[in-house]
Symmetry: C2
Subunit: 419 residues, 2 copies
């Protein structure tokens, strides 16, 4: 094990090195779950963990762990996020948090070794599998299986648009050795904000107190194939026309609420037969509604049903709307927020409480473990885009705070007295 903790310069150098794995010409990365870029990056990250003295292993859903065992047999403080990305994504989302977790763990390990810290728990760095959900739905897959929100079997059966299953993709990646998932005591995660909240207020750190509520749907529009030229307009049952009415109306729906109260999106769509001369018989797309206010979310859901009914009538099509997942406005544990606040104050970092609109692996973990969720600023809030950016200074401030939080957690903070 290293005796000197890795320095800030080392973190920045490692981050630059990591950003070359699956790099895109536009300055971003493309590392969808179990893709070539993700596989390459995980191999590289395994070397980083081993260089810090951690034991590396993978569980059955492809979560990657770097284990620092200080107290034989004790549970672990888990710290991490996800290295997978969206297509043509930014280089910070998830990846910053995983690398910061590894450096924080290595710093804590150095303190344990030097006798400055008496640990009650071990520390596990975790890189959750397929947080993004762009290649394989649902998102947050690795942490969902870890927390039993999703069965391993269902997760491994999920397919990408080419028909490859998660199971095939993971087996093909040959991640080894296979280990049992570590027993966890507490969890910490740091992530870029993906919004302008911290930037607007000039703060370095966000203490995440809640996740926005969300309702996610799949809509299937069923019409009838016909010739784009010769089928008379009044005879048409055009599934793409029906879909376009819904997509446009879902976006305009956000204007019925005060600014910032409702986010509504359609971003994934497939159509059959997708021919230039044949009217679409079937279109399938997602609908994603999010709000910090349960009443707004309920009202939006009612309006969505009205939008669907109006579109079905105008386009003479059938529309099936299935709720695929939802969560209410979902608070993070107060004790975690308080611990993070104390640590930030101690380090002299400017901070504020903040909501997260996006889901994170901590959204799963906080249901089962005392959890701390931290944000660092995103310039202009740009996310899922190659132009995503967080300054070195903000990255390092976040790393310092995360290190302090993991130190406290390793010492036993937040954990139930009896284990």
């Amino acid at each position: 094990m290293h005796t000197t903790p890795p320095k800030d310069e080392q973190f920045l150098a490692d981050f630059a090195q990591m950003s070359a794995n699956g790099a895109t010409p536009g300055g971003g990365v493309e590392r969808q779950a179990a893709s070539e870029g993700d596989i390459l990056n995980r191999r590289w990250f395994s070397g980083v963990l081993e260089g810090f003295g951690a034991e590396v292993g993978y569980d059955k859903i492809g979560n990657q762990y770097g284990l620092f065992e200080f107290v034989p047999g004790a549970p672990y403080v888990a710290v991490g996020s996800h290295l997978d990305s969206q297509p043509l994504a930014g280089r910070f989302d998830g990846a910053y948090g995983v690398l910061a977790g590894a450096h924080a763990a290595a710093r804590v390990a150095a303190k344990v070794e030097s006798g400055e810290l008496a640990p009650r728990f071990n520390v596990a760095v975790v890189n959750w599998f397929n947080e993004e959900g762009s290649r394989f739905a649902p998102s947050m897959m690795g942490s969902s299986v870890f927390t039993s929100a999703l069965s391993l079997q269902d997760a491994r059966a999920a397919t990408d648009l080419q028909g490859t299953t998660v199971g095939e993709a993971i087996d093909g990646a040959k991640w080894a050795p296979l280990i049992d998932a570590p027993k966890v005591a507490t969890y910490a995660e740091i992530h870029v904000e993906q919004g302008r909240g911290l930037e607007n207020n000039g703060n370095q750190i966000g203490l995440v107190t809640a996740t926005w509520g969300a309702k996610k749907f799949v809509a299937t529009v069923r019409g009838e194939q016909g010739h784009t030229g010769s089928t008379m307009m009044r005879d048409r049952r055009d599934a793409l026309f029906g879909a376009s009415l819904i997509i446009a109306a879902v976006r305009r729906l956000t204007e019925e609420f005060a600014e910032g109260r409702l986010q509504a999106s359609v971003s994934q769509l497939t159509l059959e037969p997708n021919s230039p001369v044949t009217i679409a018989r079937e279109v399938q797309f997602n609908v994603d509604l999010r709000s910090p206010d349960s009443d707004v979310l309920a009202a939006a859901r009612t309006r969505l049903d009205e939008i669907v009914a109006a579109a079905a009538s105008e386009a003479d099509v059938e529309v099936e709307l299935s709720l695929t997942h939802e969560w209410a406005l979902n608070p993070y544990p107060e004790a975690g927020v308080e611990l993070a606040r104390e640590c930030a104050q101690e380090l002299g970092l400017t901070h504020q409480e903040i909501y997260t609109v996006a889901g994170h692996d901590s959204t799963n973990m906080k249901e089962h473990y005392p959890t701390v969720m931290l944000f660092v600023p995103s310039v202009e809030g740009i996310s899922h885009n190659e132009a995503e950016y967080t300054t070195d200074e903000d990255c390092l401030a976040g790393l310092a705070l995360l290190t302090r939080v993991v130190e406290q957690l390793a010492a036993g903070k937040l954990a139930p007295d009896k284990r």
Copy 2:
């Protein structure tokens, strides 16, 4: 060569047999250009032609010919249509016309052999490659190359959505022998109407006098990737929202004109990155405008520009609209219509003049050769759909008329006096 002409029962049996090639559970066929179903069906059709005594060959763009040579060295009356289909298509579109062409040619050959007909020209049955354009654009590919409207090189370079080129698909099909395309004197084609015109008037035959004008575009909407949850609505540049505004408005545009004056469709669409949690950065789709009236078409084109500008503004995206092909209201040669009318009267078939909304291979051929284009009724006008249907009686009436027309053409009708 056969001495007895094939009977009506034989035609119906052959049609039923052909409909088993690439058959779908819903009663249709799936025989996209150079797909498994198309390859199987062409092999089967080759046997039919050879059974009638024709020599079978293929040209470099995969057009399939069945040659009946009566007058060594003389040009050919070409008669045919296309055997390829849309995905989940009906079994009549194109295929009826090719099989009717083969039976008509065999009947004419029997008359030549028995001395009842003194031919001036030979007869070639033709199955044009890739009329549909669903797998490889543009449509009417084989007849476009035949008439030099499209270069062989450009046609062979066209790719499907999997990146396979036409050249690779044709070479992979191993159609043989390769022959020079026959020299053509005149052309005849019969097709199902794909509309309700004949059915509404209770007529058996349509004498096609013109093709509707058309303007076809590809629209590319460029926005910006972002997180579907955390990107604030006012910051979004959502390409799919922009596209949906255009698609909905294009359809509603038809209501600004008198019924039946404008057909407008969007039926093919791709989006990037097509992820459930990332706003689309780019959407590409076709826009297909058709009208029997050039003024309507010009007005619709102007309105389309306005629709695009309004959508670009509302969604804060850029839209590029490229005209990919267009044709004005396009008459068929009068002499061909008159010949068909005389033959229909002679056979006692009820008939009317009619426009075609859809393009056909005859749309290409009529620019270079005296051409006859015939329609038989489609029940309810259903087209590009497994439920497409034409009665046996109407199929046989069309075959009888086509036979009479080919006979007249083989005897020298419509051809310039000097060749």
